[in-house]
């Protein structure tokens, strides 16, 4: 593209070696992808100019998959095969999902995955209960990891088409309050989508980076992040290029969805409805969400819908009714605020600003409650839907090695304590919450019987005293301990939490020095074998994906060319005669016409034709720009260059 290569003399014409990296906000309701282009973080839109990809995946009988808007429009019609808010199921078992009866899905409880055997024999697999839940669809049983991977694949190809190359990696954001199982599931999904995960980044931290760098903020800030399905509060100290998370808290099962459900229940009650089918349930939820959004700007919202029974729903919801029915949801976010402040050893007066993140913070009652709590108006000058993706992109750019000279340092924490089960079903904390990561702690164990050669260790995460009230992460067995008298064997177990907030456990018998490492993912994770199978299955659809990708790439290139030519015409149109200008405009029109065809070859031909027509124009612009740069300089100055 000759026209794009014009730049001021003295500036490099070729883009410097830039490693392509993106930030992905894998949200409960919507997902976004962003990147740093020319030093500025931008959200990448789809070919229709939309930034947000609805986090909705529909499975078709022929094995095909629809993601985003296409899936969303069918969510009532084909509710059982159209997975909405899959993030709520990540790393979760059936018993963790409270609202199962009101969800239109067919669930399957998965057996917990096995654990690979390793030398000094650790054998995992959770003894109690089950692994991550699964969903029965028309295309077979799907795990939430696979569903999430479909969303990530779409964002990945959107990014690769827009950036014109393969990504070196991605930063994927997760709620700060996600536990180990939920984080591991997210990382597995990214792997399944063919993404190299540079880092799992906490959503409020990502927002703080975007806000902090943009505003050169210094001081202690709170980030209040109420998303579609999760709530996070993070307290950070920003000082001289260091973003230090002091405390994180939250509720990983509280979000905008719950406000929809309140309206949904109100609709059922008001219209004396009971036991709706999947289709009607989804229909009413969709209307509930629309009403919720409308009440942000309006005093009341009218909800009209026709159920599959032919019954007509026509109800008016006022803002004050909505505020009353959702008041305790808003209140539920305040307790984590108080806890985070206490953990950070800070008072409300220490908080310099409150950054609002997540679409649900648009609700006036939320802004009001947060403002009242902190005694200051929350900062809402950022787009609450985009700020997380923008921050993730900035961090991805840094992690990919695209240094800009003004590096910053991010010190994040583990949100929930890690511990092991001790006598009587109690938990002994090994790594306390809000420890700065990466971190490690070692604990020594011994045998309590003569000749004992095995012992089991149960790792749990959470703040409660009883192991049954915490999240079980893994149970594993250390085998092959040399037979000795009771208390003689010394087994040192090391718990390492990496910068993604993921736990790894390794064990060493101190006498023999035999070592074993156990990645902690059995209770709710996927085994490597399962991921391999999923990868194989997904390559079956790869052919279609490639064609779609070529089309998107051509569309992107065409769009960029059209924009560049248009810009050149506006700036230097005077360099052309009427005939030359008409020639270019005709070919621009022809190229625009091909954009609607789903045929990348036609687009390519039209791109070449337009490029050919602009060669002379580009030359004339080049001459003009060189002449402008040379004006006022003498020969000796130029020689020195």
């Amino acid at each position: 593209m000759a026209l794009l290569q014009i730049s001021e003399p003295g500036m490099s014409t070729a883009p410097h070696q830039h490693r392509l990296a993106v930030g992905i906000d894998l949200g409960t309701t919507n997902s976004l992808v962003a990147t740093v282009r020319n030093g500025i973080s931008v959200v990448l839109n789809d070919e229709n100019g939309r930034a947000m990809l609805p986090s909705v995946v529909r499975y078709l009988a022929d094995g095909g998959v629809a993601v985003g808007e296409a899936a969303q429009t069918m969510q009532s019609e084909d509710a059982a095969n159209t997975i909405v808010s899959v993030k709520r199921f990540m790393g979760r078992g059936l018993k963790d999902v409270g609202e199962i009866s009101r969800l239109p899905y067919r669930f399957a409880d998965a057996p917990s995955s096995g654990q690979a055997a390793s030398p000094f024999a650790t054998s995992g697999g959770s003894g109690q209960g089950s692994g991550m839940l699964q969903l029965r669809t028309v295309a077979g049983i799907k795990s939430p990891v696979e569903v999430s991977a479909e969303i990530l694949k779409v964002l990945r190809s959107r990014a690769e088409a827009a950036l014109g190359g393969e990504l070196v990696g991605a930063v994927i954001t997760v709620p700060a309050y996600f536990d180990d199982a939920q984080r591991q599931a997210t990382k597995d999904a990214a792997r399944l989508a063919g993404l190299n995960v540079l880092r799992l980044l906490n959503e409020p931290t990502a927002a703080a980076i975007a806000y902090g760098l943009d505003n050169a903020a210094e001081g202690v800030y709170a980030v209040y992040d109420l998303g579609g399905g999760t709530f996070d509060i993070s307290i950070l100290r920003l000082s001289r290029g260091v973003f230090e998370v002091l405390a994180a808290n939250g509720d990983s099962a509280l979000g905008g969805d719950d406000f929809d459900h309140r309206i949904h229940c109100w609709l059922l009650e008001k219209n004396r409805l009971s036991a709706l089918g999947p289709r009607d349930t989804r229909l009413l939820l969709t209307h509930a969400r629309a009403a919720k959004e409308q009440l942000t700007e309006h005093a009341e919202a009218r909800i009209t819908a026709v159920l599959s029974t032919g019954e007509m729903i026509d109800s008016v919801l006022t803002r004050s009714e909505f505020h009353a029915m959702s008041q305790n949801l808003v209140q539920r976010t305040l307790q984590p605020l108080r806890r985070a402040l206490r953990d950070a050893k800070l008072d409300i007066a220490d908080i310099k600003g409150v950054v609002m993140v997540g679409g649900a913070t648009r609700m006036p009652q939320v802004q009001h409650a947060v403002g009242e709590f902190f005694g200051q108006t929350p900062l809402t000058n950022l787009d609450p839907d985009k700020v997380v993706a923008l921050g993730a992109a900035i961090q991805a750019n840094l992690l990919a090695g695209n240094r800009s000279g003004d590096d910053w340092l991010l010190l994040d924490v583990i949100p929930l304590s890690l511990g092991i089960e001790t006598m009587g079903g109690l938990v002994e904390k090994i790594i306390p919450r809000n420890s700065t990561i990466p971190t490690a702690r070692a604990q020594e164990f011994t045998t309590f019987k003569d000749g004992q050669t095995a012992m089991s260790i149960h790792v749990a995460q959470g703040e409660r005293e009883l192991v049954s009230d915490c999240r079980s992460l893994a149970k594993f067995e250390l085998r092959g301990i040399p037979a000795m008298v009771a208390g003689a064997a010394r087994i040192r177990v090391t718990f390492q939490v990496d910068a993604d907030g993921l736990l790894n456990v390794s064990a060493r018998e101190m006498g023999s020095g035999i070592e074993a490492a156990i990645a902690v993912k059995p209770s709710y994770g996927l085994s490597d074998a399962e991921i391999t199978r999923m990868l194989q299955e997904s390559t079956q659809h790869a052919q279609g994906d490639m064609q779609a990708r070529a089309l998107r790439e051509q569309q992107t290139e065409a769009g960029q060319l059209l924009e560049a030519v248009q810009h050149a015409l506006e700036q230097d149109g005077g360099l052309l005669d009427q005939a030359g200008r008409t020639q270019i405009e005709i070919r621009m029109g022809a190229l625009r016409d091909t954009l609607h065809l789903a045929d990348h070859l036609s687009i390519k031909r039209a791109v070449i034709a337009l490029n050919d027509a602009t060669v002379g124009f580009a030359q004339a612009r080049m001459d003009k720009s060189v002449a402008r740069a040379l004006a006022g300089r003498n020969i000796s100055e130029l020689d020195e260059k």
């Binding site: 490693r19 070196v168 990696g169 540079l198 880092r199 260091v242 307790q335 108080r338 806890r339 206490r342 961090q395 840094l398 992690l399 990919a400 090695g401 590096d407 340092l409 991010l410 010190l411 420890s435 700065t436 990561i437 990466p438 971190t439 490690a440 390492q496 990496d498 910068a499």
Partner: protein, 180 residues
């Protein structure tokens, strides 16, 4: 600091270039901590091969652990005494002065009463008193370790501070319990 000179064998004080004493310059500790993390944090090596990422994680883990230890008065004292080869006997030496134990009992009862009465103001008062007393023990600790080098007496103070830490945890938990 050059990464090549990163020495896993250094003690925590050496790591931050601090004199080995109980009294430390907190501002200098924090500044050194940040400077070190700016070098070794895994975010700095995310684009490098796996082996370097792992090394980076180990270094950053150590720096975090060292900072966590030195930044907290009780942990710092414990660590210093262990460098001097002193066995603090925190787990098995329960020989505490009677008046100290009685005071502890009274503290606990007061916290538990405040929790039951859901009296946040009472908790705040207890917290203030607890902090004052803790600071008093810490001041004594500085004298015993840095000035008198009386490590046996210091070990006794560490054991007392452990009680105070437990008390602080209970007050914290009581706040959480009240705030349902």
């Amino acid at each position: 600091m050059q990464l090549s000179s990163f020495d896993f064998q250094q003690n925590h004080f050496q790591l931050f270039g601090l004199a080995q004493s109980y009294r430390i310059d907190a501002a200098q500790l924090e500044q050194q901590y940040r400077a070190l993390q700016a070098q070794v944090h895994p975010d700095k090596s995310a684009h490098l091969p796996d082996a370097e990422q792992r090394l980076s994680m180990q270094r950053a883990t150590l720096v975090n652990e060292a900072y966590r230890t030195l930044n907290n008065p009780l942990r710092r004292a414990r660590y210093l005494l262990s460098l001097h080869g002193v066995d603090i006997q925190e787990e098995n030496n329960t020989m505490m002065p009677l008046d100290f134990l009685t005071a502890q009992m009274e503290w606990r009862e007061a916290v538990s009463e405040a929790q039951q009465a859901r009296d946040a103001a009472a908790l705040a008062q207890l917290e203030t008193r607890m902090k004052l007393e803790t600071r008093e023990f810490e001041a004594q600790l500085a004298v015993k370790i840095d000035t008198e080098k009386d490590y046996a007496a210091a070990a006794g103070l560490v054991r007392k501070l452990r009680f105070m830490e437990k008390l602080a945890e209970e007050i914290h938990a009581a706040y959480d319990a009240i705030d349902l």
